[in-house]
């Protein structure tokens, strides 16, 4: 099931495109006009989310783990990424 979300943080926009199978995130791509250093870290954020259950708790845990690697996202919080990802659930499958 393909899902997507467009999330507006206080400053910046996060777009989520995910493929969810049996309640787990099979694939996910995060795009948008936010900042993240180091930039390459976006790939590890996606990797950490893959295979997780598509539930707030699991997603939050993966994001927590991601920030522990030292990545910095000015004006965008952990919660923003968590809300962006989980928001895709409320948006429902793409027709």
């Amino acid at each position: 099931m393909k899902v997507s979300n467009l999330y507006k943080a206080e400053k910046g926009l996060i777009r989520i495109h995910a493929d969810v199978e049996d309640g787990r995130i099979r694939d996910i791509r995060i795009t948008g006009d936010f900042f993240m250093t180091p930039e390459e870290a976006i790939a590890s954020l996606e990797e950490m989310l893959k295979g997780r259950r598509f539930e707030a708790e699991d997603v939050g845990e993966a994001i927590e783990k991601f920030y522990a690697t030292g990545a910095i996202t000015p004006m965008i919080s952990k919660e923003d990424f968590a809300k962006a990802v989980m928001g895709a659930k409320d948006e429902g499958p793409i027709a």
Binding site: R15, G32, D33, F34, F35, T37, P38, E39, I72, P74
Partner: protein, 257 residues
């Protein structure tokens, strides 16, 4: 401290222009190049932030019709439209300003350069929350920055005399379904320095050189690209900046240098 002033542009090759930008950053980081203030323009290009996907930000049909190049930069942030009326400048230096890895601190320091420059030209700039500047509530500058090891790069696009109609037509406004609505929304939000102050390219550039010099405590001397930067730029151009997956998709391409 001695700095290099680099008037280096490839107006019709924004891919090489941005490959060169990354090459300079890498060489400054490795302390092989002087801290640099670079000025450049592009004739007709959309420059995307590195986490963006072209089709989500750009009216692709319009871009094709108007032969607007679509090129990715290696920093984050939003899409901008560059024509000859848009002045780009970059500050690339090693950190002796106590920034560390604090990107927010880098913005707050570096944004003073254009803020002071615009004030010195008699304008009344308003700083946004992180990386943009407006005048009378309309945006005239957007910037992006990054930090790697002990070096930083801050680059900004200044709307001096850009074709705002083209800008508004080629950039999509997220969540806005109607094209006309999108164009009017953008036109309400941006303006040109030429419109608000009558100042032009050369005046803005001179003011920026002086404000950067004061802010960074640097004497700028006109210089050229080093041979190391040149060969690295060529490699980045070939292996990354001319690749479709880099420019249009959201791929990470690691070039080994």
């Amino acid at each position: 401290m001695k700095g290099r002033l680099l008037n280096l542009e490839y107006p019709d090759n924004p891919y090489l222009s941005l490959a060169t930008e990354e090459a300079i950053f890498m060489e400054v980081m490795r302390k092989r190049s002087f801290p640099t203030l670079r000025f450049y323009t592009h004739r007709n290009a959309v420059v995307l932030g590195c986490f963006q996907v072209a089709s989500e930000e750009v009216d692709m049909d319009y871009a094709e019709e108007k032969e607007i190049a679509i090129v990715k930069r290696f920093t984050g942030g939003g899409a901008v439209y560059h024509d000859s009326g848009n002045l780009n400048f970059s500050i690339i230096a090693n950190d002796s300003y106590g920034i560390g890895i604090n990107v927010a601190k880098l913005y707050s320091m570096a944004m003073d350069a254009p803020m002071n420059a615009f004030r010195s030209l008699g304008m009344n700039p308003e700083k946004g929350r992180l990386n943009d500047i407006s005048i009378n509530g309309k945006k005239i500058l957007g910037s992006a920055a990054t930090i790697r090891q002990n070096a930083f790069l801050f680059h900004a696009a200044v709307l001096v005399d850009t074709n705002l109609m083209t800008l508004a037509s080629v950039l999509k406004v997220p969540g806005v379904k109607l094209k006309d609505k999108g164009i009017s929304t953008v036109l309400e939000r941006v303006t040109n320095i030429r419109i608000v102050s009558g100042k032009g390219m050369e005046e803005v550039k001179a003011a920026l050189i002086s404000s950067c010099s004061n802010l960074l405590g640097m004497e700028f001397e006109a210089g050229e690209l080093t041979s190391g930067e040149e060969s690295l730029a060529t490699k980045l151009y070939e292996d990354k900046y001319t690749k479709r997956e880099w420019n249009l998709e959201r791929s990470i391409i690691n070039v080994h240098y």
